[in-house]
């Protein structure tokens, strides 16, 4: 028996009560620690990442204050080194990737039409591990033990001889935490996207946002182990006298650079691809047509994911690597502009044949395209080895990567926040404040970072705590610092908007933007079980294609947490799977992981202690329940869905 899905009233009032009882979990502080609801965990990821964004922004503001005048006295060299290291580390490891993970974890089950992610307990554990890593490094920073060797921590400067104390050790271990969290989230997203889609959502009907999260996740799986290896080697060199990076004993300082940048370059695409997914997800609502060029968009995202792994040596052009080999990376670095460009051309084509509606999400989208194109142009320029040898490690590069990150990550993120805030909270963000937010940020970004191109070409290197009066760099630096103030004010406006709208924003219905994605087929905010009945899709824009008559499938259990597992390619129903429900053990295992790695910074005793504790906690975590009744049913393909017994 098929039924129609409507967001507000449900045909069977008892269904939502029963499902809610099963899926909601306990209230209170302990209940919050036990939650395995993907929406709750994703909101935590995003909130925590935004806190780190603010902290990193404050670090940046302080740095800009120091650099606004030559020989300024705001920060001394040691403190400045800690500040710029923390700014880079926070933005790259603690904000950009976790926030995109959070967005992916929130949206993926909703966009593919399922109740939760594939591995809810692991998902929860990943968040706690990330939080512990962030607290670790900020605790260090607040007691003068923050890392001071740059976010990239080149050896030998970050090695045992030239970085005394525990600063770099804390940094190296923080990487382990964020990397574990990212790997867990990647596995969760891939499995959910491939095995838990709504029936009928074949590969060519998967939303572009989900594709971008999936490609991001594959990239995480291949890239993160490189930086984990690098940080492991560095920690071992510093703590137990190995010689991985010691040339005198057969190691090589360049090994660090290869390992780090093999991760570091895909890292920026890990951040960027979900940004493109967000734009493709929200453009239809603001141009009133499906996004143009779905196959081109998806293939571009996949191509970018592959090509991103062939670029890393462009960070090492000034090293004595053979020039012929370096030239390969020049070619790849330039060619990556093609898939990126194709995406932009598709978006412009969508706008060209659509009817633009100028609300804040569209403004941020337009801003992101403009800023990213400028960053992309300088990106192709610095693919050239001779040109890069002049501007490498100067403010030209600082300008380039801030343009591409602001254009490809931050502006799409803000666009997504304005777009999905109604879905997550049930209230609309203020449109007026949104426009102020956008314009202040747009103007601020250009004011801060455009002069840096000139500064780099005039010879100002990066990572300098001050500069001399006679260099003539003072004026442009003052302009850049003024721009930082403008950006700061735009973030203040944004925060005010969020705080105000949470209480006083207009109530959003289930589909305030009249959008086409599946996430708008349920209430705002979604109930704990996402959809009362599993939707069935027949195209790429389910809500536009079926209007009020979105077909659904019934048959999942109402007395326990059960999800539908479908085949990977065509999303035909395959089996039903029981989820474990809410549990505190992911949190406890995460704490033992924290104990393991943090104690290791100070003593090798961390290994036996942490292993015993972790093993015990993990055994309890995966211990099968005695009265577990798996009702995994293999459905023969020929049985019509309506005949499925409950």
């Amino acid at each position: 028996m098929s039924a129609t899905l409507r967001a507000e009233p449900i045909l069977e009032p008892a269904l939502d009560v029963e499902l809610d009882r099963v899926w909601r979990g306990r209230s209170g502080f302990i209940g919050w620690l036990c939650s395995t609801d993907h929406k709750s965990i994703a909101k935590r990821y995003i909130a925590t990442a935004l806190v780190f964004f603010l902290l990193a922004g404050l670090e940046a503001a302080t740095m800009r204050a120091q650099l606004s005048r030559p020989e300024n006295g705001v920060l001394g060299p040691d403190t400045y080194n800690q500040f710029f290291t923390m700014h880079g580390t926070t933005m790259m490891f603690l904000f950009a990737v976790p926030v995109m993970i959070g967005v992916g974890l929130y949206l993926t089950p909703l966009l593919v039409g399922t109740r939760n992610v594939a591995f809810p307990r692991a998902n929860a554990m990943g968040y706690w591990v990330y939080l512990i890593g962030g607290i670790l490094i900020y605790s260090g920073f607040f007691v003068n033990s923050g890392p001071d060797a740059g976010w990239f921590a080149y050896v030998p400067l970050s090695g045992p001889e030239f970085s005394p104390g525990k600063r770099v050790d804390i940094w190296a271990q923080m990487i382990t935490f964020t990397e574990i969290a990212a790997l867990i989230a990647a596995v969760v997203i891939i499995t959910t996207a491939f095995k838990m889609r709504a029936p009928g959502m074949s590969l060519n009907r998967i939303p572009v946002m989900v594709w971008s999260s999936v490609v991001m996740s594959f990239m995480i799986i291949f890239a993160m182990p490189a930086v984990a290896t690098a940080s492991l080697f560095l920690a071992m060199d510093r703590l137990i006298s190995t010689h991985f990076f010691n040339p005198a004993e057969g190691g090589d300082a360049l090994l660090w650079q290869h390992l780090f940048w093999f991760f570091g370059h895909p890292e920026v695409y890990i951040m960027f691809l979900p940004g493109t997914g967000i734009i493709s997800a929200l453009l239809p609502s603001f141009t009133r047509r499906k996004v143009f060029g779905y196959p081109a968009l998806v293939l571009s995202i996949i191509a970018t994911g592959f090509i991103a792994f062939a670029l890393w040596v462009h960070h090492m052009f000034a090293t004595p690597l053979p020039q012929l080999g370096q030239s390969f990376f020049t070619a790849a670095s330039a060619l990556v502009a093609i898939p990126n460009g194709v995406q932009i051309f598709c978006w412009i084509a969508t706008i060209w044949t659509g009817r633009p509606i100028f609300r804040t999400p569209l403004l941020f989208t337009i801003g992101s395209i403009i800023i990213f194109v400028i960053g992309g142009m300088t990106g192709v320029m610095i693919a050239s080895i001779p040109f890069d040898l002049q501007v490498h490690d100067t403010y030209f590069i600082v300008a380039h990567f801030h343009y591409v990150i602001l254009g490809g990550v931050v502006f799409p993120l803000f666009a997504g926040i304005y777009y999905w805030f109604p879905k997550v909270t049930g209230r609309m963000l203020s449109e007026t404040a949104g426009k102020w937010n956008f314009w202040l940020m747009f103007i601020g970004v250009h004011t801060t970072f455009f002069p840096m191109h000139q500064l780099g070409m005039e010879g100002m290197p990066r990572r300098v705590y001050t500069y001399l009066e006679g260099t003539g760099w003072g004026d442009l630096n003052a302009v850049a610092s003024l721009g930082a103030l403008i950006i700061f004010s735009s973030v203040v406006v944004f925060l005010g908007n969020v705080v105000w709208s949470l209480r006083h924003g207009a109530i959003a219905g289930s589909n305030p933007w009249d959008s086409e994605g599946l996430e708008w087929a349920t209430t705002s905010p979604p109930p704990s079980y996402n959809f009362a009945n599993v939707p069935v899709v027949g195209g790429r824009a389910p809500l536009w294609e079926s209007g009020d008559e979105l077909p659904v499938m019934t048959g999942l259990a109402r007395d326990r947490q059960q999800v539908l597992v479908t085949t990977a390619l065509d999303a035909e129903p395959d089996s039903r799977h029981d989820h474990p429900g809410h549990t505190i053990w992911p949190f406890i295992v995460a704490v033992t992981i924290g104990i393991f790695f943090i104690t290791l910074i100070f003593t090798p005793w961390g290994m036996p202690i942490g292993t015993v504790l972790g093993f015990a906690a993990y055994a309890r975590y995966i211990w099968p329940k005695k009265n577990h009744d798996p009702s995994i049913v293999e459905l023969p393909r020929s049985v019509p869905q309506s005949e499925v017994p409950r």
Binding site: T319, S327, F345, I348, P386, Y465
Partner: protein
């Protein structure tokens, strides 16, 4: 002003004074023009798309879809063409700047320290080797082959008016070449984060006509001048007994340490503290008395010198022409 010296050029890669920088500067013109055109085209298209008057066109119509597909494909193809042109030009340029000109180059060893530059001028006759610091003298119009290494952390040698940069990596011997087309003083700076005073690890390249350069080279090979007056003589004593000789060397005296920069002809240098300050009595006094005030974190400690000792040592050092 960094220096009162004449002919001092502001650091800038778009103000080339040597063949390598000039070639990159030309390439930069191609890059900025192409990028500006492409950016303008994209922005104008975007703005038109946003603000043009809407004709009631049904986007799902096959004809519209085909037309859009053609435009997007054409744009992608155009991008590819531009990139290929860029790559061809870039590879040719890359080969050109990597090729040392046919002339016999001058060889200089560059050793990067935290946070100063050591320049050695090797010679087949061992007693003609000289070691100087932070100021690289080169002849105009002759390529200079730099053999670079670092005993501590990674540094990067960069003089934007003359050439792109090259890293100095412990465990590797890296090589690059520079050449100046015209006489002048060009400032460079370390371009790889190397610790507390990375910001103030600058250098000066002093390009002189070949005759003047040879004069300088010959004069540098001579040992240090004997102190002229009694103050300078007292200064030499202070230098040798007050701990300066523990780190610094002056050829022709008993001071032979290689921890800090060689000071043999210090008086003729244009700058001190890795091109952080002009070389004059006031600055020198401040630097010797308390280097940590100028470069906090530098390896040179504050010296508890009495005022007359300080005067004497300044007189001695300034006399080492």
């Amino acid at each position: 002003m960094i220096l009162q010296a004449p002919r001092y050029t502001q650091q800038s890669m778009v103000d080339p004074a040597g063949p390598k920088a000039a070639m990159v500067d030309h390439f930069w013109h191609f890059l900025i023009i192409t990028a500006s055109i492409v950016t303008a085209v994209v922005f104008i298209t975007l703005l038109i798309a946003l603000f043009k008057r809407r004709r009631p066109v049904e986007p799902q119509e096959p004809a519209v879809h085909r037309s859009l597909t053609r435009w997007v494909s054409a744009s992608a193809a155009m991008t590819l063409v531009i990139i290929v042109v860029f790559l061809v030009l870039d590879f040719r340029l890359g080969r050109a700047i990597a090729t040392v000109p046919a002339q016999t180059p001058l060889r200089v060893n560059v050793i990067g320290h935290q946070w100063w530059w050591e320049f050695q001028y090797p010679d087949t006759v061992p007693s003609n080797w000289i070691s100087t610091a932070n100021e690289l003298h080169i002849p105009v119009g002759r390529p200079v082959l730099l053999n670079m290494s670092s005993p501590d952390v990674i540094h990067s040698f960069w003089v934007p008016n003359l050439s792109g940069k090259k890293d100095l990596i412990p465990g590797h011997a890296t090589e690059t070449w520079i050449e100046a087309d015209s006489a002048g003083v060009y400032r460079g700076q370390c371009a790889e984060f190397c610790g507390l005073q990375h910001a103030k690890m600058a250098l000066l390249v002093i390009a002189d006509p070949p005759a003047k350069f040879n004069q300088w080279l010959t004069a540098s090979r001579a040992p240090a001048d004997e102190p002229g007056d009694s103050t300078a003589k007292a200064g030499k004593q202070v230098f040798l007994t007050a701990g300066c000789s523990v780190c610094h060397a002056i050829a022709g005296t008993n001071a032979g340490a290689t921890v800090g920069p060689n000071l043999t002809h210090f008086g003729s240098r244009l700058s001190i503290a890795a091109a952080s300050l002009p070389n004059n009595r006031g600055n020198l006094g401040g630097w010797v008395l308390d280097p940590q005030r100028i470069k906090p974190g530098a390896m040179m400690p504050p010296n508890g010198l009495e005022p007359d000792q300080l005067n004497a040592i300044i007189a001695y050092l300034e006399g080492l022409k």
